[in-house]
Amino acid sequence: MWSMQLRLNDCYRQQRFPYPLFGSDATIALGVYMGVNGKGGESIAPALKR
């Protein structure tokens, strides 16, 4: 099981971003944003094939 930090790291890699620092403001802000907005949501994976 990957932590949110690892998931975001790979997400940014695939977006061709520069390297996100672990524990950086941007990654924590994004993790919190998704946590708050995704609360109570149901997983519908695989939602996207690609």
Binding site: Y12, F17, P18, P20, L21, D25, T27, A29, R50
Partner: protein, 215 residues
Amino acid sequence: MKNTIKYIAPALVALLAGCAAVPAGPELDKLAADMAKTSFRDQGQAKMDRLLPDDANRECSAADVAGNPIDEKKAQAIQEANLKTIKWPSDGQFLGDWKAGEKIAQSGRGMTWSDKAGSENGGNCYNCHQIDKKEISYGTLGPSLYNYGKLRGVSDPGDAAAKPILEYTWGRIWNARAYNACSQMPRAGHNGILNEQQVKHIMALLLDPNSPVNK
């Protein structure tokens, strides 16, 4: 208990005062840009300059934030500027090999910090487009490209009548902003994702009558 309140109260007042001064739009933009600067670093070929928006990026996201389509005149200017950047095939040949094109369309490799700089990139076309009907795993952010050439009446790509479609398709792959100012499509040629030969192969995939796309 009383003591605790005595200490917390001033802190609360300070906190609330802080809340009252929520920064406005431009300040927030600067905060976000500064945060990006301290949250990322160069790694391999993925350098920090990738986070810098160009003028078109700025105009398009500003329109997006405002919830309006981009101003017509600004869109025209962006499209004209981008149209000028398109490099047309050096030998006048638009089409390569559709089989090679299919491989490029399938491949999503390249340009990440874990790819070797200078290694061959894919086009990742299937990520957003349906192309060959046989491939059932495709994205839907872009329009379907199945029967692309056939639907546009290209039966002989060498024929002069097909030239405008060939040019438009080449330009759209090379730099999509030449036709749609705020296009989300990666500018494959313009940004050096695909080279001229690779764009020719993609062109063949879309426009060669023998390509499965046009069957």
